[in-house]
């Protein structure tokens, strides 16, 4: 059922490194995730889904999972490049769309972004200094333009926005608040990057997508691993033992992890706590959402008629 990627072909270079402790049963994962996707849609009164397809592995995997759960004909993949986005990424996204046979749309975000930050030496709506905006500001803005686009397409396509962020980037905060992290539900948010790769291989995501270096593609040549300074297999193992298995810093060092790196990752996790939670509301009245007014998101009457 699930391809064991480490044994596909002994002679070929493995597509990726999968630490032993992170290996999952991909058959069970597919069952659980498919039912999760169907359940979320049914409970919300929707039959279709929409997601942003970047050409990277996370959104490709989610597209495959959604297609498996509800059929490709109910999925819309929106490709939203900026003028500096890698053409190869778009080619990869198109390959995923072609393989799945789902609907797709191309929405260039260049005019939206340049309208704010300016273009060709002319400042935009963001003010006279907008031309000097840092790559981080621009990257966050792009992520939020994509979010705005997806939520608009959610209306026209009549589908829920499916999240494509993984557990690794969520834990270290490598996400844009109200940008790429915004969604109606997320089927892969509890899978580390290494597990995303394992599941992608099992589902037949194109090999070129699995093999290429992960990148937020916010500027040419950017890759996650050069930016963060460690590789995903190492980072995933650290997060797994530290978070899921509750190992202390000293335990981690005994296990062979670098203390400085463990402490740095700890700071990243703590610093990103705000990105993983809904904003706090000042407690004033008798019952307050999220504090002592606690209902399931979906319950009788909450589905769209």
């Amino acid at each position: 059922m699930s391809a064991d990627v480490t044994k596909v072909d002994a002679a070929a270079e493995p597509m990726f490194e999968l630490p032993d402790e992170l290996a999952i049963d991909t058959g069970v994962a597919r069952r659980v995730i498919a039912e999760f996707i169907r359940g979320q849609l049914r409970q919300a009164g929707f039959e279709r889904a929409v997601l942003g397809l970047s050409g990277g592995i996370d959104s490709a995997l989610v597209a495959y999972l959604v297609a498996e759960a509800i059929g490709a004909e109910r999925l819309l993949c929106v490709m939203m490049p900026y003028k500096t986005s890698s053409p190869a990424s778009q080619g990869d996204a198109e390959a995923v769309v072609a393989a799945l046979g789902c609907a797709s749309e191309l929405v260039e975000i260049t005019a939206m972004v340049d309208g704010y930050f300016g273009d060709d030496g002319v400042p935009g709506e963001g003010g006279p200094d907008s031309l000097e905006a840092t790559a981080l500001r621009r990257g966050n803005f792009m992520a939020r333009m994509r979010m705005a686009t997806l939520y608009d397409r959610s209306v026209t396509w009549r589908g829920l926005v499916v999240g494509t962020g993984n557990k690794t980037e969520s834990l270290i905060g490598y996400t844009t608040l109200f940008g790429d992290s915004a969604c109606a539900f997320n089927p892969i948010g509890d899978l580390y990057k290494s597990q995303v790769r394992q599941l992608s291989a099992a589902l037949g995501v194109p090999e070129v997508v699995i093999r290429k270096a992960p990148s937020a593609d916010l500027w040419p040549g950017q890759t996650d691993e050069t930016e963060a300074g460690f590789t995903y297999p190492v980072l995933d193992r650290m997060l797994y033992w530290r978070v899921d298995r509750r190992r202390g810093v000293d335990d981690m060092v005994e296990m062979g992890f670098d203390r400085a790196l463990v402490e740095r990752v700890d700071r990243m996790i703590a610093g990103a706590e705000f990105k993983r939670q809904v904003p706090p509301i000042a407690k004033l009245g008798p019952r307050t959402a999220g504090v002592d007014y606690l209902y399931p998101r979906r319950r009788p009457g909450s589905a769209r008629p």
């Binding site: 999952i24 049963d25 039912e35 359940g39 007014y293 209902y295 979906r298 009788p300």
Partner: protein, 294 residues
């Protein structure tokens, strides 16, 4: 031979939708009867869904609620176990399982152990039951009802068996987690439960019936895998994981006598010793032992 056909209603309840779930129960009770079952078992909170939070009060029923009476009436001629939110006369809410027989609610078990750790928050919304007791049944043997976490405490199956149960029925809403590929069936939760069921069946020399729900409430996915284990600890039937359905298993209740003659573990239990030692331990933990003079 004391043959019994058990129907396991491995359903996916609609969260908070009492009417829809009642209709589904009526449907499956009828189907179980058509298939010749003598006992039909529904999962924990099958009438309400699991992740209720503040909805619990909205879907609560009194044990004498006419809607339960109607289910009991529909189940006339067989024994049925259904689970719901029970509101007591003093307005405490319990996670309850009821044995329905002869058109009436014959026995109600209130969940004693409410997990409030990890992904669970039951004690916030529910009161714990105070009684673990077997009940006689129309099946000709004593029945012991337990709900999910009750079976993560070894005292529960032991008390039920010592109190006369030969058929232990655990109804569950067990959320699946830990997909590590090293697990026997690809799911850590399932591996643990399968171990518990076999162990309890063997140690109590009783049948163990496990009915677990499927479907999704919010973030949680329930894994099904309902089972019937014989008094030797051997699995007699296992329903598929994650697959909704009404599954039947045939057992011979006479196996209990044969196993208890062969392996008289219950005969050799020392309840008076256990009770005495428990009393000592309980007093000690409360600081009431003689040594500290209180």
């Amino acid at each position: 031979m004391q043959p019994l056909r058990i129907a396991l209603a491995q359903i996916a309840p609609r969260l908070g939708d009492l009417e829809a779930n009642l209709a589904r129960h009526h449907e499956l009770i009828a189907a179980a009867r058509d298939r010749g079952a003598g006992l039909v078992v529904f999962p924990e909170l099958g009438l309400t869904g699991y992740q209720l939070q503040d909805l619990a009060a909205d879907v609560a029923m009194r044990a004498e609620d006419p809607r339960l009476g109607e289910l009991a009436e529909a189940a006339r001629g067989l024994s049925a176990v259904v689970s719901f939110v029970e509101e007591s006369p003093d307005h405490r809410l319990f996670i309850a399982a009821a044995l329905l027989e002869d058109g009436a609610v014959r026995h109600v078990h209130r969940k004693v152990f409410l997990p409030t750790y990890g992904l669970f928050d039951e004690r916030r919304f529910f009161a714990p039951g105070d009684v673990v007791r077997a009940t006689p049944s129309g099946l000709g043997v004593g029945v012991g009802l337990a709900i999910c976490e009750d079976f993560w405490h070894v005292s529960t199956p032991q008390l039920l068996a010592m109190d006369g149960a030969q058929l232990l029925i655990n109804v569950s809403s067990s959320p699946g987690r830990d997909l590590a590929s090293t697990n026997e069936v690809g799911l850590g939760t399932a591996t643990s439960w399968r171990t518990l069921m076999r162990t309890y069946a063997q140690l109590t020399t009783s049948f163990v019936v496990f009915c677990n729900r499927v479907g999704v409430d919010e973030s949680l996915s329930f894994w099904g895998g309902s089972e019937v284990i014989g008094p030797t600890g051997a699995a007699i039937f296992g329903a598929p994981m994650f697959e909704e359905g009404l599954y039947t298993a045939d057992i011979d209740l006479g196996d209990v006598r044969r196993e208890r003659i062969t392996l008289p573990l219950l005969r050799d239990e020392r309840p008076e010793l256990v009770g005495r030692e428990w009393e000592r331990i309980v007093n000690g933990r409360a600081g009431l032992d003689e040594d500290n003079g209180q």
